[in-house]
């Protein structure tokens, strides 16, 4: 096992142990990881990612949805293929490889004093949640917090406990939830996220909007925000490209001359407009 700092050996993982696994939705599970001897392998800023590996199978890039001090790193992982199928089959006690942290993360400091609007779809809440929880942890540094989140169905909503109970109870916080199609037991909003955003129409004055979700949702949310009067530097998103190294060497995650693993994944819309439209 490598005991070296992950920066000296940026491509070699550190081993951690899975200490808890939670079902979030039928195809999303949360994995809580820490080193066997205790402590986290590295500190992660909101919005940063790590390469998580079921070592004998493969590696994948995942947003660290939360770091609880030195207690654990949490990843929310959707089952979509080879590696993630395997991850969904493991049990508590399994050793996983992690390397990172990678990427620039959200500009948490620059956003201080602002009202925050978080717009997420599906598993896209995973990266935003690290920023949302950071704001709550430093509640006095941020203004009003508005969260708009949607999924295909009620079952597909991630982090339900926080969404319906914890977050709405926090001072100056509004949480709006929508699902794509009507369901019998659901008396909340029905419809797609971009339309819901326009319906709620949060005032752009003093606001920073942060959005993540399926590419098609992001595209329409960006259009809606523009229509609602948000300027390009008021809108932040986090991108996904296929990644292998995470450190700007293997070449594959580029958009133009930027490597999303290193220079991103977080960009504001003004920065994104300078890049070729390949995202």
């Amino acid at each position: 096992m490598s005991d070296k700092c992950s920066c000296e050996q940026p491509l070699v993982p550190v081993m951690v142990e899975v200490i808890d696994i939670k079902d979030e939705t039928p195809d999303v599970k949360s994995f809580y990881c820490r080193k066997t001897e205790g402590g986290v392998p590295f500190d992660v800023k909101p919005g940063q990612c790590a390469m998580v590996s079921q070592v004998a199978i493969g590696e994948g890039m995942f947003s660290c949805t939360w770091q609880e001090e030195q207690e654990y790193l949490q990843f929310a992982i959707k089952k979509v293929g080879l590696l993630t199928d395997e991850l969904h089959a493991i049990e508590v006690g399994q050793k996983l490889g992690v390397r990172g942290p990678y990427g620039n993360g959200f500009p948490v400091e620059e956003c201080q004093g602002k009202d925050m609007l978080f717009i997420a779809g599906g598993i896209g809440l995973a990266p935003l949640r690290s920023f949302i929880k950071y704001c709550f942890k430093h509640r006095e540094d941020y203004g009003k917090i508005t969260i708009i989140y949607g999924s295909r169905s009620y079952a597909d909503l991630c982090f339900k406990e926080e969404l319906f109970n914890e977050w709405p109870a926090i001072k100056d916080t509004q949480v709006y939830v929508t699902i794509d199609n009507p369901e019998e037991a659901w008396d909340g909003h029905v419809g797609f996220v971009p339309a819901y955003v326009e319906e709620i129409n949060p005032d752009p004055a003093g606001m920073i909007a942060v959005t993540c979700g399926p590419p098609i949702m992001i595209k329409f949310v960006l259009q809606s925000l523009e229509k609602m009067g948000y300027t390009d530097d008021q809108v932040i998103t986090t991108l996904e490209m296929r990644m292998k190294c995470g450190i700007g060497k293997c070449g594959r995650c580029n958009i133009g001359s930027e490597y999303i693993c290193l220079d991103g994944p977080v960009f504001n819309l003004a920065q994104l407009r300078l890049l070729p439209q390949e995202w």
């Binding site: 096992m1 070699v12 070592v55 979509v80 292998k244 060497k249 293997c250 070449g251 594959r252 439209q277």
Partner: protein, 338 residues
């Protein structure tokens, strides 16, 4: 000045090979590349110091085609990994040309700068001494000068210059070079010889201004046209001395195995394919465009010079005659107001 007499060449290579792996340009069957001097088979491998560019670049010496990164051993939920630095012993690249030497500069910038040092590359690079052979008579597909490289001044620890006479001028450029020169000092002669004049290039191209122009050409119809015949075979990226993309994969036999990296190519669909069928570069056009923009625009924006060194290998290798010089020319001629 120090002169390496041609009749001393083998003696010097033998001497150097006592303390390091010495890679020299050699023919091998129908192909040619940089191979170990010590373990050469004189029947099938011949030194080719006079050839300009051997078919395969020396890329694999610093960046092996496949490289084990760490071994893996699992038992139940427990997993143990151990780094395996495959081979970082001292090595000398002898007889490399300016274009391939520039490609090593590209690799150095990619693997050793901008936030992270690649520990695998670094271990080998720190142990590598480069002895370059200055060019005075460019080949039919050479266009290094157009890419801003002086073929007579390669970036190296030592430069040798073929005087056309009985010897090479031996010019030591760095401290690492001095240490090496000291080891063979008694085999070099002291004599005055003159380096030849650089002959004109047969392939002429002018890269200056291309990166700037390309900035506005991402959506230009030229990519559709130029990529028409490309088969996405990837041979251009394979023979390229500066293409550095890699994949990371795992190989297991039961509970034991290793993770390795290997060369990859942006010409392949798999390269950027995402789970669920998404792919930001779904067709040949996007992949082709990315390759040439990476070479001619993106790398320049990031590192200050292009990722093409003018070695001409892809021109020779491409089965459908795609020619980067032609692409540069077409970009320069393109009307950007469409």
């Amino acid at each position: 000045m120090k002169i390496l007499n041609k009749n001393q060449l083998e003696t010097i290579l033998n001497k150097l090979a006592e303390e390091a792996e010495v890679f020299v340009p050699m023919s091998k069957g129908n192909s040619s590349g940089f191979y170990s001097w010590k373990t050469r088979n004189p029947e099938t491998e011949r030194l080719m110091l006079d050839a300009l560019n051997v078919y395969l670049s020396p890329k694999n010496i610093g960046f092996p085609q496949t490289e084990k990164m760490y071994s893996i051993k699992q038992s139940g939920p427990d997993v143990e990994i151990k780094e395996t630095f495959e081979d970082s012993d001292p090595r000398i690249i002898f007889g490399i040309r300016a274009c391939d030497a520039r490609a090593i500069t590209c690799m150095d910038d990619v693997f050793l700068t901008r936030g992270y040092e690649d520990s695998f590359y670094k271990a080998r690079r720190d142990n590598t001494t480069i002895i370059a052979n200055a060019c005075y008579n460019p080949g039919p597909n050479c266009f290094c000068a157009g890419m801003g490289i002086d073929p007579t001044e390669p970036n190296a620890d030592i430069i040798i210059r073929d005087t056309g006479d009985t010897g090479y001028i031996w010019e030591t450029k760095t401290t690492q070079g001095e240490q090496l020169s000291a080891r063979i000092a008694d085999l070099l002669e002291e004599k005055e010889l003159k380096a030849p004049e650089l002959k004109p290039f047969k392939t002429n191209v002018e890269y200056a201004g291309v990166a700037e122009k390309l900035k506005s050409m991402f959506e230009h119809p030229i990519w559709e046209e130029l990529s028409q015949t490309c088969q996405n075979c990837g041979i251009c990226t394979y023979v390229c001395p500066s293409c550095h993309c890699f994949d990371i994969q795992v190989k297991m036999w039961g509970d034991e195995g290793y993770r390795f990296r290997c060369w990859d190519s942006c010409m392949y669909t798999e390269y950027s394919a995402e789970a669920g069928g998404g792919n930001p570069r779904p067709t040949t056009k996007e992949r082709f465009r990315n390759r040439f923009l990476h070479k001619l625009e993106f790398f320049t924006e990031r590192y200050g010079y292009p990722l093409c060194t003018g070695c001409g290998r892809c021109i020779v290798a491409c089965p459908t005659g795609i020619n980067i010089v032609n692409i540069i020319d077409q970009v320069k001629e393109a009307n950007v107001d469409v």
